[in-house]
Symmetry: C2
Subunit: 600 residues, 2 copies
């Protein structure tokens, strides 16, 4: 009896800490003076209530100060701001700086992990990292080598660390960490190395593993309840993670989880997407390859799946489904609905009911998309929810060792990791997009742990018969599935957008410009040439009564891999080098934070 009582109160204590950690982070995120999470908030809206900088005065923006990170190559993600402290991370070797905003960025502490550089060649798409997370007085870093580290936010002292994967098998990390309640949620990269994807929850306080949900495999691996986990309203049934695979292919099946994570505290569900099935040669993996390319809704406490939706069954183009899920409450057909909007690599903008997983809208957000004629929206149809594939662009139907040409979008999708923003004022989504097509020739490849497992040769180029550029920055109406306006860009917009209450939207370009445009019309209001190409995400904060805009420069990522890794063969970098070769006329490698404000 005594023992039992103790245990119970121990649990009660635990639950209290849980709730507190969670509440604290939510309070931090609600304070518009801060940028407390990479995604702006749990909903991934990347919207700020700050309006000191607005459509009227943004043209007067000035650089306030700048900070070199001491590391070159692709700088994704953004700084965080908690109180007067800013946290800046870097690509490999994933240095973290705590900067004192009261002293123009004086360095309070720096954390410099020692990582084996052998991890660099097993990172598919540059040595990027999408940033640190904050919760409960700690900074969480998920390193390239998959070490997860908790640092004291005030001192940088290591509180705990744990290895999430094994880089010698091609398991790496580029994603940020999402703190939820008393846990942190982390993903894994390696879809180009036959890694079987998973999402893992670690205890925020201790680093102990709480649960792991694989993207494919037996039901106990993928954490489904065959009766209650649904796909478009239907139970997924038993063995859904293995029965659309031939043999053991699911064991090297991909579906990695390197994108962005969302959380709905009310529904108590986390959302994310899974990546491409391995290999890129579809002939080697007959079947739908569930649950690659899938939106997943899970319970953060135990990882159990509530619903799935597979957007691209049996992928033939590397259209990873990992892009962010943006959670909004909007009126649709006269009813306020809890929506999830997702701009998939496959070129379709999906609007779903985030509680039930019902598919509401699926429309092309780039008119160039040609591999599909659209998604079957008829719930009665046996193809319900499936995109209709155009034979000419089917690399499966054209077969191995055949070069399928003119496929739009290219493998890096109509949008890749670069996150969109949403303004509740305009109810529009601001989406940085790619306007790129490709030739794709699959070939047979055999699996060796830790070796590339790609099996396709690609070439990329601007969408033909268009404006000649490789990107657009668009405003999207997710209720009607329509582009509201579209700004042509010479290169893909590989930077994440920010929308603000000042009726402006910010984004960066691969040439290195930070741009501000009208949220209403898209009219350009400001541009500034930062030191290097931008693939980071724009953030904002307030300090001493002034609003600031922060952006990391440092060209790289998949689009910039030619520059970042010094590659010149057009087919290298999984086909991206050729398409983006003109980037070297505009920018060189970098790694800088530029902070803007209005003149006094």
């Amino acid at each position: 009896m005594t023992k039992l009582t103790l245990m119970t109160s121990g649990l009660a204590l635990c639950a209290a800490t849980m709730a507190m950690a969670n509440d604290d982070l939510m309070t931090q995120m609600d304070n518009p003076a801060q940028w407390a999470i990479q995604t702006g908030d749990y909903a991934n809206q990347r919207y700020s209530e700050l309006d000191q900088i607005n459509a009227e005065n943004v043209g007067d923006l000035q650089v306030a100060w700048s900070f070199s990170t001491g590391v070159l190559r692709g700088h994704e993600g953004s700084p965080l701001v908690i109180g007067d402290m800013m946290y800046v991370h870097t690509p490999f070797p994933n240095t973290v700086y705590a900067l004192d905003l009261k002293e123009e960025g004086k360095i309070v502490w720096r954390y410099e992990p020692k990582q084996d550089p052998d991890v660099i060649p097993v990172m598919c798409c540059d040595t990027v990292n999408r940033g640190v997370a904050y919760a409960d007085g700690k900074i969480f870093l998920h390193q390239a080598d998959t070490k997860v580290v908790a640092l004291d936010a005030m001192t940088g002292e290591v509180k705990w660390e744990v290895m999430n994967g094994d880089a010698s098998k091609g398991e790496t990390n580029t994603a940020t960490v999402m703190p939820v309640k008393d846990k942190i949620i982390v993903g894994i990269s390696g879809g180009e190395f036959g890694v079987r994807g998973h999402v893992t929850a670690y205890n925020m306080e201790t680093g102990e593993q709480e649960w792991r949900a694989w993207s494919m495999g037996p039901d106990e691996d993928i954490l489904v309840d065959p009766e209650n986990t649904t796909h478009l309203g239907e139970p997924v049934g038993e063995n859904s993670g293995t029965n659309t695979w031939e043999g053991d292919q699911w064991m090297i099946g991909g579906g990695t989880t390197w994108g962005w994570y969302s959380y709905d505290p009310e529904a108590d569900l986390i959302y994310y997407g899974t990546g491409n099935p391995s290999t890129w040669n579809p002939a080697q993996r007959p079947g739908d390859n569930r649950w690659s390319m899938t939106v997943m809704a899970r319970d953060p406490d135990d990882g159990m799946a509530k619903w799935f939706y597979q957007m691209t069954p049996h992928d033939e183009w590397d259209y990873d489904g990992v892009n962010e899920m943006i959670l909004t409450d909007q009126e649709m057909d006269g009813e306020v609905r809890k929506l999830l909007t997702h701009f998939d690599r496959n070129g379709l903008g999906y609007t779903m009911d985030r509680i039930t997983g019902e598919l509401l809208v699926a429309e092309k957000y780039d008119p160039a998309v040609n591999w599909t004629t659209g998604v079957d929206m008829d719930p009665e149809s046996e193809n319900y929810g499936r995109p209709a594939v155009v034979a000419e662009y089917s690399t499966e139907q054209n077969g191995e060792d055949v070069n399928s040409t003119g496929i739009c979008p290219a493998a890096l999708g109509s949008k890749d990791q670069q996150p969109a923003a949403y303004s509740p004022k305009t109810e529009l989504f601001y989406v940085p997009t790619n306007h790129v097509c490709m030739d794709y020739e699959p070939f047979r490849v055999s699996y060796t742990a830790g070796q590339p497992y790609v099996g396709a040769t690609l070439a990329m180029y601007p969408a033909p018969d268009s404006h000649g550029g490789m990107g657009n920055f668009i405003a999207w109406d997710n209720i009607n599935g329509e582009i509201k306006w579209s700004l042509p860009e010479q290169f893909s917009v590989w930077s994440g957008a920010l929308a603000t209450a000042g009726d402006i939207v910010f984004y960066g370009t691969l040439e290195g410009y930070l741009k501000a445009v009208s949220a209403e019309t898209g009219e350009e209001l400001y541009r500034f040439k930062t030191p290097s190409g931008i693939i980071g995400n724009v953030m904002t904060y307030e300090q001493g009564g002034k609003q600031y805009i922060g952006i990391l420069s440092g060209v790289g990522g998949w689009a910039g891999i030619g520059l970042a890794a010094g590659l010149t063969n057009p087919n290298d970098g999984l086909g991206a080098v050729g398409g983006y070769s003109a980037l070297s006329d505009y920018t060189a490698l970098g790694g800088q934070l530029t902070v803007f404000t209005l003149p006094d």
Copy 2:
């Protein structure tokens, strides 16, 4: 006869090209819209006639655009501007960019030399380079590995290249190139590797070697006329480059030539200084060690020396004499004189007659200097021109394996490579200085080609009983040998100054601030935190009717070697690591150009 005629007209043609090249560069330098040479002009004044940005409005300065060089570590020197093109260089691997100023720095061409990284460990004081030169439609780069390259200024095409030294023997380069008439003048580094210094002239058109003047050695090596080359008015006499050395020590005698070069077109003389004698252990090289630590005036056509002045005979502290010689025409005692002003590492500011080599003024430009009580200025004295050494701070007198403590300045001098500026309006010199002292313990060392040949252990620290900082930015009166005003700085000011007709002076700090101060009073008028510590030189130019200020950031150089090379042992980096360790609280490695202008 026919042959002779042809040859003569060939020569005539050559002479014409010579004159043209020279005149063209002088015209380019005279145009204040450009920054045609690293030193601002042949006189090394670093003064600009531009006054759009001035003491009244400099407080409104804004960042116009920025450019990441794609290389980390110490960025010395500055960009050049010729017409609408800007030329930006980097530290090792010495990439050169041509940027189109009409298109906010679009990259017109880039030159990326392939250099053996083995040169890095034989560079004493970081992988710096003090910039490219322009003449005759060509950009001249002197690489770390001592390859001198001439590039077509419009296309970046290699016109010719030649090796000036041998890195396997410790011969490297960090200096810029000075084009004079039909030649380019280049130096050599390696005083810490027993390299015997020399200055070499190459034909601008062909790259052929025209002459080489060694710093020590037989008369035919050092290019003196024993009767007509003078030292403080007296002929140097025969064998002056060997007879103050014991045995063959002169063959590994140092006196390298890695500093700045000046030219007086009217007198047709070039000026530069030679570095420390090797080794740093004075007991191993009895004698005055001529012509180390010497100001040299030579004829650019054949290299013949007109006069020498050895500032620090038999160096005991590594006070290289390579700092810039600033040429001015100023009134002194009622007479306009052709002066040469030089702020030596040894802490003395020298004013000389640049035609005759007469010593006019030698005064301490940092009151902390304690190794000498001053220079004997009596022409009748047998010690004329010699500094009186204070026994307590004589590492020679204290002997080998004895730690001489509290010597001021430290080995990096009261000023190192960071060049001063001169304003003809105020007739003041604006000098970035070090306020650092040292402990110095010499020890016996033996020579192996290509291996460090230092022989001393050093520790550096801020000048005691002062303001606690390691630097001052001062205004100096070279006629009276007096400090006019002095601004304390936390770290050495390792950046070169710029004075302008706008009555302002610019300089950068190791923390990364660009500062503008009143030329008259030193009052701070503007500061901006650039991405990384500044050791580059401030430059200015005009484009499309607007004046711009440009500065390279990128912490490093000897002062920043701890950060740049990742060293933490306080005695490492030839003693500099400990003194400057607090730098890591302010800045991280970088490599960026920041360009400023006034708002429209």
